[in-house]
Structure formats: structure tokens, C-alpha cells
Symmetry: C2
Subunit: 590 residues, 2 copies
């Protein structure tokens, strides 16, 4: 029926032109007549969507703006990260479903011990690190594993944040699994038992854990991707930066198109096996003298980190957050020490060294470390820590400036709740910065700002903004405090249930809660600008990579968002879509 | 010089009349002439201040309002609780200074073990319970000790809250002391070592710990006190209620003039040694069935508590908070179990029972329990707990109503952050209440409200107020979340330093932070009233007994405050002073 065929092709072209999108059409031919029954926009993978959008623009069917609106930002990560073949997933044996903490697909042998994972991963073996929960000690094991599976935690717990930063698949909060560390087994709720070295597959995009090796589809960027994102860059108004903690992260960030680093967490630099001993010495130091001595060994290490990072990033802003986590995170686990002391005691062995360490760990241990001695409270209690970090930053920046590099250091103080904390910390910072610049005989321009992650800081923004050039919203912690949800506990314990029962519309650690947390952000950025019209505002929590949250950031007039490197494209796309929906008149320059 | 004397008496009378207060005058007589050099209001103890105020009113020198303004509310507790002889304190050997967590003076022998303190205290011995920190397990030991000393915690940590409720002296957060539980010694920073059974003195009003037995001055109420507080009751506008958890607490509350119970914490009823096993069975129950079975044993116990409390309080409101704390608070300590298992393992003993319990405790343990599975999150995860509690309340209330008692049950849901939590919890509550009232064939009027202690609840008050008849501000938790300060950690770790360094003007757990926490309270009560004009608001955190915070509560239009029984007089006095300073036109009836 060549006539019918020609007629169909004409109508199809017309429909695609009319709907400005690829159509999925239903038709029938009855008694020699063509009937079009239904048409709707065609479903497609992210890769196909980008190709279609670029093609349709080139064919003159749609505008750039329409092309941008055709691609779902939530799907973009599929182009950047390996995925499982959906057909194989359909027929797989699913043994658990946790929180989709960091997307991507991973296949490997189960390993429970971090040291073992580090050793075997380094040697090229494909392993999956399985832990109750992860802590900073586990980072080197995570770095060389294919993926990470944890029983505790959620979308912003330690494992999730670190895995996202590494672009590594992670499923967290599989509270239905039972791990026996002594026997090295995992027992699933359906009775399946896995032993060490059994192979499993993790889908970090869905949170699914599957038995055996599921077939993967590799990722790959192409010319269409480049073209499409050049349009996105043209149209979006928000700056999209990366969370990057090491020189290696910076390379990753640049690859994904970061326009700066919105969050450099200095504590991650401390976790290297050759640095940790000095960090521990600093922590257990009984006197300021001893603490300064330990810090003096860390100074050259931090200097070289900052030197490489600033150099690699070039003239884009690099925002350094001073030391943030509770100090006991750097020390051995209290439980393990208690166990060791009790065992040695029972066996009549000498345990005095372990007991001494236990006493220190006990003194530093807290009932609720998230709300304890951390963030600026650390730097105000032990100013010499901030002094060392600021010295390292400014020595690196002075040297780079001397060498002719143009750099943009932004420095920020975490966990401010009261203006006086900021004032006091700033005084230390300015005096060290001046001292270093005088020593080096060169000036470096820098910005000084604060994280807004404590509700009280947001509520008193009018005071805080008088001392800060920028507000960097740490939305993970701000969500944590505004809801009173510990991110390490809530997701595994009750949040999944809340979302399933529709008590909450969505997980607030994944998509920003507009009514509560958002209200604090809007109030504070507006009130901050009343007293400081050049105040810059941005989001550096993981919400900075969540498309809906990015759109909200655009809407309320923030200047930038910052997220894990591989989420930059999706954040940029969301920013562009928001700019198309409601262009802003004027943007304060970042 | 009888003339000079007469002249002096005349001038003195004139000055006291003029200044409307007792005068402390300096004078000299030179060459037969009287010179008055200086005069100022005389310093006095609380007892004297009350006597002077009453006398001056009776003599017609001052008005009732002036009498009320003459007494410092912060000093009133001295009249109600035993104090040390100040001269003896001056010459005492002070060995530490912690947080003045609960006022009053205590002298006794050092005891480290709760069971031992309970046994010896019960037998009439004067002991001071010394602990690293206290937990609900320690309550029976605290109840019969003279006072409590802890190394950790602050003004609103467990030890402080419980001790205040008992009217028992407590010094917390003496982080400079080193306790060796094995040797049963305390080593002070000046090198003094105390052994078990050594006598120490605690001043809960100043936080001082002294060696030996310091002489005490006993408290005693007199007629002047009664008269003075009858004026206070006439003039104040705020209702002042008590935090009371047991029938015994109610008697105490009534003695100190409580106008209701603003906070009855049901979990304290669970700590009795004959109840705890059932509570533990409820917690470790693997199934809903098993949980209901355990709860059925708790029902008659809760019924009898509520029956006695409502009956004792009569026609005043009794506000019951449904179960709030994390469940693991009712279980043995994880550390102790780890120790036990390790020891038994090393010695080749059978440890399977302990290991099983440890597994359960581990599953329930959280990184930050304050922000974990507690409050309404518990009742929404295990609705049968709330169902049992509501049934107990309504069975008691129906029976009392049948017996002709007029009672006022107010029921509140703790830790709300989202309107849907309140809606869901309320649906359960209403259905159980209706069921019980139908079974009993009688109606009981009740109010349903919510705690406001999560910043998000305050920020979304317009939504929350549509489902609540009252907002009870849990200012301890609200301060905790708004500042991001764990009350168990912050005071010992950095808050003392913050206050000393003047980074904070005052400890926000003691006096309400007006700019941050207060802003949330004001915003939310005002916005709540916009949608629900009959909304009642009150404070039930310990700030409800802090005079400055009470004045603030009056100022922003709250209806009531609720605090530990012995703080009621000072709260009433502050409320009267606030009413004198700025009387309110109209008060929504409580």
C-alpha cells in the first residue's frame, strides 16, 4: 500500500513537527483507509533523547530551548555511568533493595574487610565492599572497589557522600540483610546466604542488590552530548560547580564541566594512611604545644594539596571548607577497643596501651556527634587547627600568584550558628592570611564566607551576612537539623517507611524540602541581601545535583550550586530548563 | 547623740519611702553634724526580700506591684531548697566546678554504682551518686541519693532533667574529674583523690563540688511567703504548670502551686523495675503480635498511673505526651554487652544469650539517637504503642468521669516535623478514643495538640495549627535542633568555653535564645493563630522555669509555661513582673 505508506509518513512528520517531539503513534488501516488512533511523545533512553533533541534542532523542527526541555535531567547520569542491561535485570534474582545512594552499576566479589578490599582491588580484582556502615577509615577500600553496599545509612550518609564523590555505585541502608562478620556471610530476608567471594551486582540507581553478575552497558560521551551541553551552558544562568576534595577529584570535576569547586572538604585530605598518624597525634595531644607539633607535620601535606588543586582548577573559584567532622572520626572505634581490652584482660595479657587509647576515645566520644564538637566549634576550641589550614591555603596561593597563576580562593567556616562564632574565626583567619602574605611579599584576593547549615544561622542571616561575602548552604546538614533527622539513622530506620506511607512526599535528603528547609534558605538569602547587597548564595549539599532542587535554587535567586562531579551535567540541564521557564533579570556575579 | 539619732531615723524613713525599698546607707557625724554620704537598695536573701516586701506593703510604703518587683525571681529557689552556709563555702576546698544543673545543697558519701546507691540510700544512708553520665536505669538510685554528680552533660541532659523533677541537687559536666570505676576513685585536676565513701558536698545552685561536709541552712516556707505569692497569683497572667511524670510528682506540683501539668512524660512510668522487663519484651518483639502481647501487660500499669494522676490533679489540665525517647534507652548498654561477650568468649564461657541481646541492641543503636527513631516516629512505626497509651488514658478518664470527677485530659504528640505525621497519629488516637468511650458508654472532653520542638514544625506552623488545639514548645529540643547542639555533649565539650569567651551571651539551654529559637516560637505562634484563632501556646521545656524566659513567654503572647515543681514559684513571680511591665489586653483561655 505505497499510497497509505506515503500518507502515513506525511502525517507522522506533521505530528512530530506539531508536537515538537518524537511521536509514538498507533494506527490501523481498515478497508484501504489509514486511521491514526493515538499519538504521544515517545519514550527513550537518555542517550537517545539527546541524539533526538540534537537531530530535531538540526532539522529545524524545534528550537534550542525546546531541545533542552526534551531531555529529563534525572536520566542524564545513564549516559555518564555504566548501567545494567534492563532485560537482564528483569530476570535477575533480587535479594535486597536499599537506598539508591550513588548511581551506576557494579559487579564484584563480596569482601567484608576494608584492608582486604583495598589490597585485592588495588591488584585489579573486582570486589564489592560490604560494611555495616562506612567511616573515614574505609575510604581507601572504597576507592578501589567496584561498588559499596552498607546495611545502615541513606542518601547522604558517609558511604553515599564519599561514593558519589568518587562516581562509584553505592547501595546503602539494606537493613533487611544480616551480616555475620565472624563467619563472613550475608543472610537475605528470603533465606539466600552469600559467602565471602560470592559475586553480586549492585544497581546504585535503583538500590537493588542482585545475585550473580548481571550484564552491563558501558557509558560513553559522544559528539551529540558535547553539542547538547554547549547549548545548556549558553542558556543556564546558575553557576554549576563541583564538590571535590583532592587533586584527583579536580580532574574529574573538570572532565564533567565544573565551573569551579563549591566545596572542598579538607578532612578527606587527612585520611591518607601516611597522614592519619599525624592527625591522630594532633587529636590525642594533651597540650597546645603537642598539638602544634603534630600540626606542623600536616602543614606541608596540606600545602601541597592546595597547591596542586588551585593550580589544576586555574582561574575558577575554589571554595575550601575548614575542618568539619568530629575528631573521633579519625580515631579507632570505641567498640573495637572495648572488645580488645576485655579480651586481653580476660586472657591475662597486657592491655595498658589499648586502655590508654580507649580512655582518649571515650573522652572524645559523644552521644550525638552530628551535634557535638565539630565544624567551627573545633576551630574555636583549638584555633591552631584553623591557623595551620589557613596558612597552608595562603602559602599555596601566594606561591601560585608569584608564578603568574590567577586563582580564586574562597574560604568558608562550617557550622556557624551565631555571628560571634564567625567573627572570632574570621579574626584568626585574617590575621594568619595577612601574616603569610607579608612573609611572601605578595597579595592574594580571597573571599570569606560561611556555610549555612544550622537553622539558627539562617534565622539570624541579617547578622551573619554582615561578616560574610557568601552563604554556602550545606543542605545535607540543614535538612538534618531542620527535620531533626540524623542522616545516618533516619533513612534506614523510618524514612523509607515514611515515604512509602506517603507521610513525606519524598526523601528530603534527596530533593530539597521547599516548605521547611527552603523557607529557611529563602528567608536567609533575602534578609542577608538586605544588609549586604553583594552577598553571593549557593548550595553545596548533595541537593546541588538534584534537578528539582537546582530548579528551586534558580527560582529563589541563588548564584550557584555545587555537587558531585558526575552530577554536574544533570544539574546544568536542570539549571538551563529553569532559566528557560523563568529567566532572571540580573545575576550577581560569582 | 539622741538628736542626731532621731534625725537619722527620720532621714532613713524618708529615703526608704522615697526609694520604695530597704536602704543600705553610709553616713558620718562630724563636729556634731549628720552627713548622709551614700544610699542604695539593700542586698538581701530571698527570704528577707519577701519579708521586707510584705512588711513595706503593710506599712503602706509600697504597692503590691512594687513589692512584687522587689524580689529577684532567680533567688526564690533559696527559700524552697536547702542551701550551704555561705561563710562555710567561702573557706571550703573546692575541687571542681561543673554545670549548676539542679539547685540545692547535698552532702553525702561518694557511691559510683547505682544499685549500691539505691540500696544504701533506701536504708537511710546519705550518699551522693557519682556517674560518668546518667541514663534511665539510674533513676531509682538518684531518687534516694542526696545529690547527683556527673562528668558529662549539662543543664538539660538526662541527669539534670530528672534531678530537677525530683527537686534534687545535681552538678553535671565536671569534665575535669577523672573517674576510675575499677578502683572506685575520683581524681581532681588539683591532684586530690577521693575514694568510695569519702564525703563531698555539692552545690547545685553554683555547680561547685567541695571536699567534706559543708554546713547547711534548711529551707522553710512561712506566712510571708504565702501572702507574697497570693499577690503574685492575683497579678500574673500566664498559667504556670508543672512537669510531672508520676502520681508522686503531682503531689509535689500541687504543693508548689501548679495550675495544671504541662508535661507528663509517659516514659518515666516505664522505668520501674517491675515494668522494665515488659518494656524490654515490647522492644525486642520480632512481630506485631509479640509486641501487642507485651503491651497488654503494660496497659493496666499505665491505666493505674493515669487514673491516680488525673484524680490527684482534679479539674486542672493534665497534658500527656505519648512515648518519646529512643527505644534503646530501655535496653542494657551496648558497650557493657560488648565487654561481656568479649570476656566470656576469651574465657571459653557460653555467651550466646548475651550475643543475641547484643545483636538486638546493635540493631536499635543509632549514631545520633536524638535525631533518630523517637517521638512520633516511634508511634508511626509501631502504632500499637500509641494505641495502648491512648487506651490507658481514656479508660482512666472515662472511669473518673463516671465517678463524678471533672478532669481535663490534654494529649500531645511529640517531635512532629510534618503535618502528615500529626494527621496520621491523630487518626489513630481519635479512633482508639472513640472506641474506648463507646465501650465505657461515656464521653470525655479532651484537647489534642502537638509539641513544637523540631524547627520544621515551627516553620510550617500554618499547616500544623490546622490539626492541633495547642502548641507545646519543647524548648530543650527546639534549642538543640536550632543550634545543632546535642544537649548531652555541647555543655561539657564546648558550651562552657563559648560562654566564658563571650561567643554566646548565655547558655541557651538555660535562658531562651530570643533571636534564633525565640524567632521560631514567635513566627509559629503568630502564624498558627492566623489559621486557628483559638490556638493555645505554652512552653514545656525547662525554660518554662527560667525567669527571663518566662517574661519572654508573656511578652510574645503565650498562654502558659510548665516547669519542674520547685521552679513554679520563681516562674510565677517572673510572670507577675512581666504582667506589671506590660499587661496584656486579652488572654486566650487555657
Amino acid at each position: 500500500m505505497p499510497d497509505i505508506y506515503r500518507q502515513y509518513v506525511d502525517i507522522a512528520k506533521q505530528l512530530e513537527k506539531g508536537y515538537h517531539d518524537v511521536q509514538d503513534m498507533e494506527f490501523t488501516v481498515e478497508r484501504g483507509k489509514l486511521w491514526i488512533l493515538q499519538t504521544r511523545n515517545g519514550k527513550r533512553t537518555a542517550k537517545a533523547a539527546i541524539k533526538i533533541a540534537v537531530d530535531m534542532y538540526r532539522e529545524g523542527i524545534i528550537t534550542k530551548e525546546e531541545a533542552i526541555n526534551q531531555v529529563d535531567p534525572y536520566s542524564v547520569y545513564q549516559v555518564l555511568l555504566p548501567c545494567f542491561n534492563p532485560d537482564k535485570v528483569k530476570h535477575s534474582h533480587k535479594v535486597s533493595k536499599g537506598v539508591n545512594a550513588s548511581p551506576g552499576a557494579a559487579v564484584g566479589k563480596i569482601v567484608f574487610d576494608t584492608e582486604e578490599a583495598a589490597r585485592r582491588g588495588e591488584a585489579g580484582e573486582k570486589v564489592i565492599l560490604v560494611r555495616i556502615e562506612t567511616c573515614p577509615d574505609d575510604i581507601h577500600g572504597m576507592a578501589v572497589s567496584q561498588g559499596v553496599l552498607t546495611l545502615r545509612g541513606g542518601a547522604t550518609s558517609h558511604a553515599a557522600v564519599v561514593a558519589k564523590g568518587m562516581g562509584k555505585p553505592c547501595v546503602s541502608g539494606c537493613e533487611d540483610l544480616i551480616i555475620d562478620l565472624a563467619k563472613e556471610t550475608i543472610t537475605c530476608s528470603d533465606g539466600t546466604v552469600f559467602h565471602k567471594d560470592d559475586i553480586i551486582s549492585l544497581d546504585g540507581g535503583t538500590g537493588e542488590v542482585m545475585e550473580g553478575a548481571i550484564e552491563m552497558v558501558q557509558a560513553g560521551l559522544d559528539e551529540d552530548f558535547e553539542t547538547f551541553f554547549s547549548w545548556v551552558d549558553e542558556i543556564k544562568e546558575l553557576h554549576v560547580e563541583a564538590n571535590a576534595d583532592t587533586p584527583k577529584d579536580i580532574e574529574n570535576a573538570k572532565k564533567f564541566g565544573a565551573e569551579g569547586v563549591g566545596l572542598c572538604r579538607t578532612e578527606h585530605m587527612f585520611m591518607d594512611p601516611d597522614r592519619l598518624p599525624w592527625v591522630q597525634k594532633m587529636i590525642i595531644a594533651g597540650t597546645t604545644e603537642a598539638r602544634k607539633e603534630a600540626l606542623s607535620h600536616l602543614l606541608p601535606m596540606q600545602y601541597s594539596d592546595f597547591y596542586s588543586m588551585f593550580k589544576a582548577l586555574g582561574d575558577k573559584p575554589l571554595t575550601v571548607r575548614l575542618l568539619d567532622p568530629p575528631l573521633h572520626e579519625f580515631l579507632p572505634s570505641k567498640i573495637e577497643l572495648v572488645e580488645k581490652v576485655a579480651t586481653k584482660k580476660a586472657l591475662g595479657q597486657n592491655y595498658s596501651e589499648d586502655e590508654k587509647l580507649l580512655e582518649i576515645v571515650e573522652n572524645l566520644s559523644e552521644s550525638n556527634p552530628m551535634m557535638g564538637l565539630r565544624g567551627c566549634r573545633l576551630g574555636l576550641t583549638y584555633p591552631e587547627i584553623n591557623e595551620m589550614q589557613v596558612r597552608a591555603i595562603f602559602e599555596a596561593c601566594c606561591d601560585l600568584t608569584k608564578e603568574g597563576h590567577h586563582i580564586q580562593p574562597w574560604i568558608m567556616i562550617p557550622l556557624i550558628g551565631h555571628i560571634n562564632e564567625l567573627k572570632t574565626a574570621k579574626a584568626t583567619l585574617v590575621s594568619v592570611a595577612e601574616q603569610v602574605m607579608n612573609e611572601k611579599g605578595i597579595r592574594v584576593d580571597y573571599k570569606f564566607g560561611t556555610m549555612i547549615e544550622i537553622p539558627r544561622a539562617a534565622l539570624t542571616a541579617k547578622e551573619v551576612a554582615t561578616e560574610a561575602e557568601f552563604f554556602s548552604y550545606g543542605t545535607n546538614d540543614l535538612t538534618q537539623m531542620t527535620f531533626g533527622y540524623s542522616r545516618d539513622d533516619a533513612e534506614g530506620k523510618f524514612l523509607k517507611n515514611y515515604v512509602e506511607q506517603k507521610i513525606l512526599p519524598t526523601n528530603p535528603f534527596v530533593t530539597l524540602d521547599v516548605n521547611g528547609v527552603g523557607r529557611l534558605i529563602e528567608m536567609s538569602i533575602n534578609e542577608g541581601k538586605e544588609v549586604n547587597s553583594s552577598l553571593v548564595g549557593g548550595i553545596c549539599g548533595e541537593h546541588g545535583g538534584d534537578p528539582d532542587s537546582v530548579k528551586y535554587a534558580h527560582k529563589i535567586g541563588l548564584n550557584y550550586v555545587s555537587c558531585s562531579p558526575f552530577r554536574i551535567p544533570q544539574a546544568k540541564l536542570a539549571a538551563a530548563q529553569a532559566a528557560i521557564a523563568s529567566p532572571r533579570k540580573q545575576l550577581a556575579s560569582v
